[in-house]
Symmetry: none
DNA sequence: TGAATTGTGAACAATATTTTACAGATGCAG
DNA sequence: CTGCATCTGTAAAATATTGTTCACAATTCA
């Protein structure tokens, strides 16, 4: 396709990689709020995207326009075309993709899932879980199911940096009895169990519960059988246009939890992160000379 | 409704009758091709609507604007509002929680990240990657960094069910040379590399590339150095109100990819899933009696 | 370190806007 | 038809704003 026939948006997307840092920054604003952000004055655009005026002038020339006014009038022409096309009028996630594209349908579902989940979620409970996870008197054990293992891993990787006394119980359920041996009322057990609830997990939860461990459960909107004995639980909506379930909502809650726990434990975390940096450096050094 | 809250279009329509001949003519052009026609210069607008410049100036003042630039910037604001995404603008995520609660701030950021990412993402590229991943002639290898390992794991777990010939390269980079041994132009390598780009990953990518492997890269908005040699890449926005980066957007794209690849490979996948069910059943049986 | 990129500030050029004065056009009332 | 008020266009000048460009310093990155 010749550049002449490409929309400015397409040009910006296609040539994004060959742009410099400031140009990318500018382009991102343009794409993000397209095309409105490009319709003001050049100084306005520069200021709002945080680059200098000459940078804007340089970019539009790089794109092949004689000057900013030419660029802008091309943009205006697109406003006319875009707004008169009723299909494009309704908003989408990826504005230039058809509504029916899987990406748009997915983003819609996820957005709906988040809203539905949050409508049931009590922020007080969220805050309590934060406090629990930040409490390093208690040992934190994490375990997931076949699919949700990745979530468990994700939480573990972060918690390991943020606080001491964290264990990821491998998905190999043969090893679980060993962990149960040492489990008592000083333990917190984070369990991920979504649809196709796994029997092994249920049994593990029951035994941990009998030993007095506090269970924090991430499950789906219908609720794993472990709900009954969980001290806290998050019911995440997970339906998407796919044969599989979505892990987005639980991950979103996880990330928010991680952010909050980290904030609560900041002093401790900072020390741990510094030490970690140091260790990484020394590993790198070590490698360099071998 | 006060005039202040009326859109310019409504104002023009409501006050149409009290306008003079030339003003009506001008207004008609404005409404007919709204709002694009009002975004050029005042002389342009005058010429195209067949009235004189002062007439335009007089009209906008009659409408209550200090001058044409003010009128125009109001118009621009409407373009922005009309085209920008209303999906979550007037919609708190957790309605009963304060705006400032971390969960709401997180959901906002994520929503923004999705939109920003999608504004740069070419759906054609997404479709191409789908086709690649669905092609079982090629071996699929997956590898991630320290944090993004969970994403690699997530993709692996699903792909393993959907298609044969999938490998998760462990994060222990000591083992990578073994994988490189067998790597050639029949291989696809999915790499996750976000900020704090890891040198080991870069070197791995370079060597894989030299051997002809096709690289599919998941990186952040700034782009890992691997971008240069990647056949396809996804730049995911990852900034959230946290000391850590968000993995939500890459995971969203992953899930959509998984859904599409699964659909493309449905016959094959169905057989594999049945076999898998069967294997699970037999394992469970086996356990029950030991 | 050296090259490329970016920002600053200013000067200048180019455009756009506003305003004014006036003349022609229009429409209407008498 | 006339005269008057209103509307409109023209032209031009004054002003304001905007775009362009440059030199140079600061920054970044390899």
């Amino acid at each position: 396709m010749s550049e002449g026939k490409m929309s400015i948006r397409e040009q910006l997307q296609n040539r994004f990689d060959e742009l410099t840092r400031a140009e990318k920054q500018l382009t991102q604003l343009l794409l993000q709020n397209y095309p409105a952000s490009g319709l003001g004055s050049i100084t306005d655009l520069a200021k709002r995207s945080g680059v200098s005026t000459p940078t804007v002038a340089r970019l539009v020339q790089k794109l092949g326009f004689a000057g900013f006014p030419q660029f802008q009038s091309a943009l205006r022409a697109e406003v006319g075309a875009e707004l008169s096309n009723p299909i494009d009028k309704y908003n989408k996630w990826a504005e230039h993709a058809p509504d029916e594209h899987i990406l748009n349908r997915f983003a819609d579902s996820v957005s709906k899932n988040v809203r539905q989940t949050f409508s049931r979620l009590k922020t007080e409970e969220f805050d309590e879980v934060c406090a629990l996870l930040a409490n390093t008197d208690h040992h934190l054990k994490i375990v997931g199911g076949r699919i949700s293992r990745s979530l468990a891993d994700y939480l573990f990787t972060h918690m390991q940096v943020i606080r001491p006394r964290v264990t990821h119980m491998t998905s190999n359920s043969n090893a679980w009895p060993h962990y149960l041996l040492d489990m008592n009322r000083d333990d917190m057990l984070v369990i991920f169990d979504v649809r196709r609830y796994e029997n092994d997990l249920r049994r593990l939860a029951e035994m941990a519960h009998e030993r007095g461990a506090k269970i924090i459960l991430f499950t789906d909107q219908w609720g794993s059988p472990i709900s009954r004995i969980a001290a806290h639980k998050f019911n995440c909506h997970i339906e998407v246009p796919s044969a599989w379930d979505s892990s987005i909502v639980p991950m979103l809650i996880l990330e928010a939890l991680i952010a909050e726990v980290q904030k609560a434990n900041w002093d401790q975390t900072k020390r741990r992160m510094n030490t970690l940096e140091d260790l990484f450096d020394r590993t790198r050094m070590f490698r360099k000379f071998t």
